[in-house]
Assembly symmetry: C2
């Protein structure tokens, strides 16, 4: 198993690429690799994080519990993404839970290896800043979508998002399979409503399903649905 950050491809995708050789060596020496089974938590809302998690494989949902007991999924993090940075940077407990939605392999990087570099290597800090700026922009988009689009539009959009970001398997199903409940938590609706709309899409022939797997049959139509037709 690949075990040095210096050689890890994942690093290409995240802020760690802005670290110097020596800084990276220190990170690599202090990191630990963990296997997380589907359904298991990496951390939970309110936890004090002593480091960040770098995803090597698999996907995690980042969610926040609302007052009425429903989870809202705020982001799906996959290969190359770093989780928990916000908590480490602001030195607060985390406001999100991270739960694996597929089997995962992640590296845990203790916060000391990070904070020192944050204070001394402006390139690294700037790189982290750029990532966070991107996340913030996406969060703004989510706010607009949730408040201005119908559930039907948001579900159609979610399917396109899943295809674009996680691809399809050999049989034409979305490679990342989410439960109906997770789907409803992504778009911010009741599970029954999500199921109903999925059935409707199936009847219309824009998607096909097999168990909980979903495949896109008519992408053009799906795009129209996002626009509200």
């Amino acid at each position: 198993m690949e075990s040095r950050c210096e050689n890890c491809i994942v690093r290409q995708f995240n802020s760690l690429r802005a670290m110097s050789k020596e800084e990276l060596k220190k990170v690599s020496d202090s990191k630990t690799t963990k296997i997380i089974k589907k359904g298991q938590p990496l951390f939970e809302e309110g936890d004090k994080l002593n480091g960040v998690y770098c995803v090597r494989n698999g996907v995690s949902k980042l969610s926040k519990l609302s007052a009425n007991g429903k989870d809202q999924i705020v982001k799906l993090a996959s290969k190359g993404e770093v989780m928990g940075q916000r908590s480490v940077i602001s030195e607060e407990v985390t406001n999100l839970s991270a739960i694996a939605v597929s089997d995962m392999e992640v590296c845990f990087i203790p916060k000391d290896s990070i904070t020192h570099t944050l204070q001394s290597n402006p390139n690294f800090t700037l790189e982290v800043l750029r990532h966070m700026a991107h996340d913030l922009k996406e969060a703004d988009d989510v706010i607009v979508n949730i408040s201005q689009k119908t559930v039907k539009q948001r579900i159609a959009e979610a399917f396109l998002y899943l295809k674009n970001n996680f691809g399809e398997d050999e049989d034409g199903f979305l490679a990342l399979t989410l439960s109906r409940e997770d789907i409803s938590n992504v778009v911010g609706t009741a599970t029954e409503s999500a199921i109903r709309i999925i059935s409707e899409f199936k009847k219309k022939g824009v998607i096909h399903t097999s168990g909980k797997k979903i495949g896109i049959k008519d992408e053009r139509k799906l795009k129209e649905l996002v626009e509200g037709f």
Copy 2:
């Protein structure tokens, strides 16, 4: 009129406090002060920003236009807050419009004075990063609120937010007066729905109004309304 950043109180509240004397001097020499009348834009979605705006006085709404022609207000920026940083950091056009909701006095700081410091002073970069981490956390909260709370709850919450962040005038009205349309764009609902709920609150005696001004009469009740009673 106070015109040196070095002496500007506003700086206390934002990332500029992490700049060195010399860096700040450069910023101060290159900045320009602008007066923006209520209703006027500072910048619009899609603009390429050549700098950031530091708010000395007044309030601006940061909003994004949705496909169906409605604005969604994502944030209200007031004294001490810096607008446009995300666009400057990621070197993209801005995804938000900034329009004054009260008369404003802002300083425009050309991007060159900022980017150099971002690349060389990690304390400054880290400070900006901390602010952005905070904004991102707030954005997550907004997502959860919009998707899980009713319009009534969100409007009650908005009033409490306005009181806590902008205070009240001598007559007990919220110091920041927003139009009904702006209120509806903050909570993400139709203007008529917002008006209806405001009338309902008035009938119940939790608020009182005078023209477009709104005053909180029963804060405890309002807090209950946020919780869904």
